[in-house]
């Protein structure tokens, strides 16, 4: 049904409709006024004709009325039969007595003069009363009634004629308007078609045809200019995209080359650098065992230091390998219960370390999405750090809690250990930077760099805050996949 609404009409139809509506209105108004004028004129003509007839009749019948000659009157009235508009004619004497009448029968009696019969256009008739005078004496009255059939027939004919001519003119106008609306609609339609083709095919070489120098011509030219600008810009975008793609390809191949080199490097590190260390350590031990009697305490101490250094270096190599592995390993993504993972890590830690009253509070059901192996490495490091740096307190308190906010989950690990000076917080996540001496706390200085790398690869962030002697707090912020956000909302509610 809506298709019939004005705004869904095609432009052609609108133009045609407007033209025809205006012309029809004009024709109808002209015809109506012509008919009204004709009607008025004809009435006046009829009226004057009847007055003339009545005048003649009065003159002729004056003598007959005076002598009350009924026969004469009847013959005079009979002459009216030739005039077809006369419906009834009555002749009265001066005293008002009906003397003679034409077309009178029982139901259409002549009215009595004493009752002042109506005159003029009344109902479907025209009535007139004419006094008959002779030498300025009124000797009687003539009352004429004329029906208006002729008038009606005339006006009807006139209306038909006017409508016929109006219709004919309208037909001609339809034809002309149909031809003329093209002048306006054609350029607009072609412009619209061109715009449609451009937007469908994304072909900016298409141009709209331009007609004349009027507003429509200007519109077409402006449209074409605009498409020209878009074409140029599009070309430029395509060119820069191509060059960008080439650059990306180049970089990708460079990167994969660098990655391969890194892989080869770490392979040889893991094989070839460890072997001499093992030799140093092993032969140191052999020396210690075999030459126990020959070596004095200083010599034994030196040997111990050599062996300890090689073990420490092995730890460094291992740390670097883990760091390089978390950087280049392909990522997998799964939903993980971090709380369970932390509980497992904590269990391993409490198996290893010296007995110290430990209070470990891990918020249950912390769910994160990410690579299980990598996140395990990261959180193992964080928990180990918390464990390690709180080893010198009288009791150990570690708390892990999580808060969700706007698509991110923040996991905070708080300990009551020695903490660190916030002045050096920038060095915390850089490899080989340590904030404590090896004699205070052992470590390689690679752990937090590895954690940082893992969290960055998960598109998250990590921050630390502390005060010396009052423990440290590490906050890991990880994005939550959109699908999981719904889940967490459900479980919250």
């Amino acid at each position: 049904m809506k298709r019939w609404h004005w705004r869904y009409w095609p432009l052609k139809a609108k133009l045609l409709f407007l033209t025809l509506f205006t012309s029809t209105l004009g024709i109808v108004l002209v015809c109506a006024s012509l008919i009204a004028v004709e009607n008025q004129n004809y009435r006046e003509q009829l009226e004057s004709e009847l007055h003339v007839i009545a005048g003649i009749l009065a003159e002729q019948s004056a003598a007959a009325l005076l002598f009350e000659d009924h026969e004469q009157l009847s013959s005079i009235l009979s002459s009216l039969r030739k005039i077809e508009t006369i419906k009834q004619a009555c002749v009265f004497s001066a005293s008002g007595t009906l003397m003679n009448s034409l077309y009178s029968s029982g139901d259409t009696d002549c009215p009595s003069l004493s009752e002042q019969p109506p005159v003029g256009f009344v109902g479907n008739y025209y009535r007139l009363s004419q006094p008959v005078t002779l030498y300025e004496d009124t000797v009687g009255y003539i009352y004429l009634i004329s029906h208006l059939e002729v008038l009606k027939a005339h006006i009807q004919t006139f209306i038909f004629l006017a409508m016929g001519i109006g219709g004919l003119i309208q037909l001609i106008l339809v034809f002309v308007a149909f031809r003329l609306q093209r002048l306006v609609s054609q350029p607009i339609l072609e412009l619209s078609r061109a715009a449609e083709r451009i937007s469908l095919a994304h072909d900016y070489t298409i141009r709209a045809p331009v007609y004349g120098k009027d507003e429509l011509g200007r519109l077409g030219r402006t449209f074409n200019d605009m498409i020209g600008t878009i074409e140029q810009q599009n070309l430029r975008i395509l060119e820069s995209r191509d060059s960008l793609e080439r650059t990306v390809e180049e970089r990708t191949s460079q990167l994969s080359l660098a990655n391969k080199e890194l892989e080869a490097f770490s392979y040889s590190v893991s094989h070839d650098l460890r072997q001499p260390l093992r030799a140093i350590e092993g032969f140191g031990r052999a020396l210690e065992e075999d030459c126990e009697d020959v070596l004095d305490d200083t010599g034994k101490d030196h040997l111990r230091r050599i062996r300890a250094a090689s073990v420490r270096m092995a730890g460094l190599i291992d740390g670097l390998l883990v760091l390089s592995r978390v950087s280049r390993q392909p990522m997998e993504s799964e939903r993980l219960n971090l709380s369970e993972m932390l509980e497992e890590i904590a269990e391993e830690l409490s198996d290893l370390s010296e007995p110290l009253p430990t209070e470990l509070r891990i918020q249950p059901d912390i769910w994160v999405a990410g690579d299980g192996r990598m996140l395990r490495i990261a959180f193992q490091n964080l928990l180990e750090n918390a464990w390690k740096y709180s080893a010198k307190e009288s009791s150990r308190v570690i708390e892990v809690s999580a808060t969700s906010d706007a698509g991110y989950i923040t996991i905070a690990i708080q300990d009551n250990g020695v903490g660190f000076d916030m002045r050096y917080v920038d060095k915390l996540f850089v490899a080989f930077n340590r904030l404590h001496t090896p004699s205070e706390f052992g470590g390689t200085g690679i752990g937090l760099a590895t954690v940082n790398r893992v969290i960055l690869r998960h598109h998250g962030s990590i921050s630390a805050s502390s005060e010396v002697g009052k423990g440290a707090r590490f906050a890991v912020c990880l994005p939550v996949p959109a699908a999981d956000r719904l889940h967490s909302v459900e479980s919250n509610s």
Binding site: H271, R274, Q275, L277, R278, G282, F283, R285, A286
Partner: protein, 151 residues
């Protein structure tokens, strides 16, 4: 069971000495045969091209095979061992300096019985060798090579 011998294939002389020392510590009576590379190991197991003769493998208890070897590497030797009916029953322990996951997976795919990353701490290394010798030479049973052939 002490008379079962142990075959060690390792190219590094330091590691050879340390491994033998650790193994002797664990199982004093077991003879230890040391070979330097993969080709030597293949010759030992499947016969020399010149002599076309093969050692008697019946007394061989376990093979310790380094992954990274010159000429024919450890994984290829393992492949040969597993593809021959003469040797496919033998326990083969891959030993490596690295803990590269891809290498580990490949070793097990080719049928290694075990994979060990050589510990840098000598004490730990000796422990590894002791456990290994105890398990593969005393706890574990291997069929007589003759009976495998009959099957």
């Amino acid at each position: 069971m002490d008379d079962y011998s142990i075959l060690v294939v390792d190219d590094n002389p330091d590691d050879q000495v340390l491994t033998v020392r650790a193994l002797k510590n664990a199982s004093k009576n077991s003879p230890v045969i040391v070979l330097e590379d993969g080709q030597e190991a293949l010759d030992f197991l499947f016969g020399d091209e010149k002599t076309a003769s093969r050692r008697n493998l019946d007394t061989l208890g376990v093979i310790l095979l380094d992954v990274k070897l010159p000429r024919v590497n450890g994984l290829e030797v393992l492949k040969h061992i597993r593809s021959s009916p003469l040797t496919n029953w033998m326990p083969v322990i891959m030993i490596s300096s690295s803990d590269e996951p891809s290498e580990l997976v490949e070793a097990y795919r080719l049928g290694a019985n075990s994979y060990i990353t050589k510990a840098i701490d000598y004490h730990e290394f000796t422990e590894q060798m002791t456990l290994l010798a105890r398990y593969w030479l005393t706890v574990n049973k291997v069929p007589e090579s003759g009976s495998v052939r009959k099957l």
